[in-house]
C-alpha cells in the first residue's frame, strides 16, 4: 500500500494542472469569500434633482453617497440616471414631498436603501412623538414618497435570470467549445484535417459554428422561460441584447478555443475551463453585488467579460437601457472579443499544422522550394 502512495505522489507532482487546481483553487475561493462574498452594501450612489438638490447632500448620510446634483433637472432626468446605471437612488425635490426613486434591479442596494429610509422614518416618528405627538413637527423634513423602479417587488429571480443568460453563454462558449476542439486532437484526426484540401479558416469556423448556434439557442430558451414562466420583464431592445450576446459569445468561444490549444486531452481542457469560469461566476456581480466586493479584489471583476455582459443583460432586460449608455461594456467586449478571437484563430491554425506550407489549397502544386536559413521552424515532435 505504501508503494501505491509513493507512486501516486510522484505522478501528482508531475501533473501540474491538477496541482494548480488543488492548491490555487482553495486559495482563490478563500480570497473570494473573505473579501468579495458579501451582501452588505457600504455605498449607495445617489443623485439629487430639483430646487433643494443641494440640501440633500447634507441631509442624507452614510451609506448614501451623492454623486451628482442637478437643481435644474426634474424627475425625468432622475429616472434616466437610474436607467443608465449612474446611481441606485435618486431624490427629486420640488413642490410637496420629495420623491425617492430606487433602482430595484440592484437588489441588495435597493434593500439597503429601503432599510436606511425606514430607519430614518422610524427615527423621525419617534422624534416627532417625543416632540409632542405631531406627525410633522415644524423644522423637520416632510416624509419622502419612496418608489421602487424596475423591480418593484424586489424579486430575486428578476435579477438572477438575466445573469443566468450570461452563465449559459460562458458555459457553452468556454467549457463545451474547449472539449469539442480538444476531441479532435485526442482522436488523432487533427492531422487528417491538416492534409485535406480544407482552408484552415473553414475548419475553424466550421468547428465552432455549431457551438455558436447551440449557445444562441440556449440563450433564447433561458430568456423565454424567464420571461414566460417566471415573469421576468424584457423591457429593452432585443437588438441591443442580441448584439451584446453576440460580442460576448465571440469572447467566450475564443477563450474556449485558446484553452483547447493548450490542452492535450479533455481532462486538461475541463480543468482549465473550470478555473477560468469559476471566478467569473463568483466575481462578476452575478451573485455578490459588485459594490460589496472589496476594492482590493474588485479590479479582478473589471477584467472579467461576464461582468460586462451582466451589465448589458440586466440593463436591457430590466431597465430598457439604451445602447448609448451601455457603450462602455460594449466597447470592452468588442475589443476583448476581437483580440481573443484573433488569437484563437491564429493558434488554431498553428495547432492544425505546426509547420504546414502556407499558401493556397486545392490547386495542384509542383515542386515546393523551401530554403533553409539560420532559423528552423519550431513544432512538436512528429
Amino acid at each position: 500500500m505504501w508503494a501505491m502512495i509513493v507512486k501516486e505522489f510522484r505522478q501528482l507532482r508531475r501533473d501540474r494542472r491538477t496541482l494548480a487546481m488543488m492548491i490555487v483553487m482553495p486559495v482563490v475561493l478563500l480570497i473570494v469569500f473573505g473579501y468579495a462574498a458579501s451582501f452588505d452594501v457600504t455605498t449607495i450612489p445617489t443623485v439629487a434633482a430639483g430646487p433643494e438638490a443641494g440640501q440633500v447632500t447634507h441631509l442624507v448620510g452614510e451609506p448614501f453617497h451623492v454623486v451628482a446634483t442637478e437643481p435644474s433637472q426634474g424627475r425625468a432626468w432622475a429616472e434616466q440616471q437610474l436607467r443608465d446605471g449612474n446611481a441606485a437612488v435618486a431624490v427629486v425635490t420640488g413642490d410637496g414631498r420629495p420623491q425617492v426613486l430606487i433602482d430595484g434591479s440592484q437588489l441588495f442596494t435597493a434593500k439597503a436603501a429601503i432599510a436606511e429610509l425606514s430607519a430614518a422614518a422610524a427615527k423621525a416618528a419617534v422624534h416627532g412623538a417625543a416632540a409632542g405627538g405631531q406627525a410633522t413637527p415644524p423644522g423637520s423634513q416632510p416624509q419622502p414618497v419612496v418608489t421602487v423602479l424596475y423591480n418593484p417587488d424586489l424579486n430575486t429571480s428578476d435579477i438572477m435570470i438575466p445573469g443566468l443568460a450570461g452563465v449559459v453563454l460562458v458555459f457553452v462558449g468556454t467549457i463545451i467549445t474547449s472539449l469539442g476542439v480538444v476531441r479532435e486532437r485526442q482522436s488523432g484526426t487533427l492531422e487528417q484535417l491538416a492534409v485535406m484540401p480544407l482552408k484552415p479558416r473553414d475548419v475553424f469556423l466550421g468547428k465552432i459554428g455549431p457551438y455558436f448556434a447551440v449557445a444562441a439557442l440556449d440563450l433564447a430558451i433561458v430568456v423565454s422561460i424567464g420571461v414566460g414562466l417566471f415573469g421576468v420583464p424584457f423591457r429593452g431592445s432585443l437588438a441591443v441584447f442580441a448584439l451584446g450576446a453576440l460580442l460576448f459569445l465571440f469572447v467566450t468561444l475564443g477563450i474556449g478555443v485558446l484553452i483547447s490549444s493548450v490542452s492535450e486531452n479533455q481532462g486538461q481542457a475541463i480543468q482549465l475551463a473550470f478555473m477560468v469560469t469559476l471566478p467569473q461566476i463568483l466575481l462578476s456581480g452575478l451573485i455578490f453585488p459588485l459594490s460589496s466586493i472589496a476594492i482590493g479584489v474588485r479590479w479582478i471583476s473589471y477584467l472579467l467579460p461576464l461582468t460586462y455582459f451582466n451589465e448589458i443583460s440586466r440593463g436591457v432586460m430590466l431597465r430598457a437601457e439604451p445602447l448609448s449608455s451601455l457603450w462602455q461594456p460594449f466597447l470592452f467586449l468588442a475589443l476583448l472579443g476581437a483580440i481573443v478571437f484573433t488569437l484563437a484563430s491564429l493558434r488554431f491554425r498553428a495547432y492544425l499544422a505546426p509547420a504546414a506550407p502556407r499558401g493556397g489549397t486545392g490547386s495542384p502544386r509542383s515542386a515546393q522550394k523551401v530554403t533553409s536559413a539560420a532559423s528552423a521552424p519550431s513544432g512538436s515532435a512528429g
Binding site: G188, Q192, M196, P354, G362, P364, S366, K369
Partner: protein
Amino acid sequence: MTAPGAAGSAGDWWGTEDVCVRFGDTLALDHVWFRAEPGRVSAVVGGDGAGRTTLLRCLAGALAPASGRVRRPGPMATGYLSAGSGIYPDLSVTENLAFRAAAYQIPPQEARERGGELLARAGLDRVGDRLGGQLSGGMRQKLGVIAAMLHRPALLVLDEPTTGVDPVSRADLWWLIARAAAGGAAVVLATSYLDEAERAHDVLVLDAGMVLASGTAEQIVAAMPGTLTVAGARPAGEAGRRAWRREGRWRVWDPTAGDTAGTIAPDLQDAVTVAILARELALVPAGGESR
C-alpha cells in the same frame, strides 16, 4: 514541372530531394532523397524515431521541411493515413466516409458506389452504422485506408497501416493497397514489418533520420557490405558486438568482404539489421554502451 490530374503519365514521380526537417535541436530527417512512382508500392522501414512518420508527413503536406524540396501533387490528389487511423470514433463508418467525400468534393453518388464497393471487399459492408470507436483495430485501419483512397489520389501515403493488425485484416489491407496501385496511384507505406517491405516494389531504410539503404529488396541485399555467418552462440569479444540472435542461432557480421566460405545468403531482414548495426557501431566506439 506541373502535377497532372490523372496519375500514371510518364515522367511523374513524387518524393523528396535532399530534405531536412528539424524539431528544436533534433534533426528528424537528414538530407533524405526519396522517390515514389505511379503504379508502385514503396515501403519505408526503420524503427521508432527513425523518421518514417516525419517523411510521410512531408509527402502528405502536413509538414514543411527546413530545407530541400518536396514533390507532391497537392491536397486534392493526396490521400493520407496518419499513424492514428484518422477515423472519428464518434461517427459511424458511413458518416466518416461521407465527411471525406464532402471534403474532397466527390459527387455523392460516386462516393457511395466506390465506398460501398471498397467496404464490401474489405469485409466492412455490414458495419456501416457502427461507430468508429467500436471497430476493432484491424477494421479501423481498413476504414482509414478506404477513406484515404476514396477520391482516387495520385499519391497515397499510409503510416503503418498494418502494425498490430491481425493477419486476416492485413491481407484485406494489402488488397486495398494493391488495388490503389493497380489504379495508377503511387503508394508509400511505412512499416516495421520487413516481410511487408519485401512485398513492396522498392524499400527505403531510415535510421535516426538518415537513409541507410534504398532500392528494390534485391538491390539492398546485394549492396550489403561484408558477409554473414551463423553461430550457435554469441561470439566472445569484439565479434560479439557484431552479432544478433535470430531464430535460435546467432548471425555474425563480418564487415570485411573476406572469403565467402561458410557464409549464408542474407535476406532483407539481415541487410537492414546490418545497416542499422553498422551505423550504431560507427557511433559508439568499442567499450561504449550498446543501444
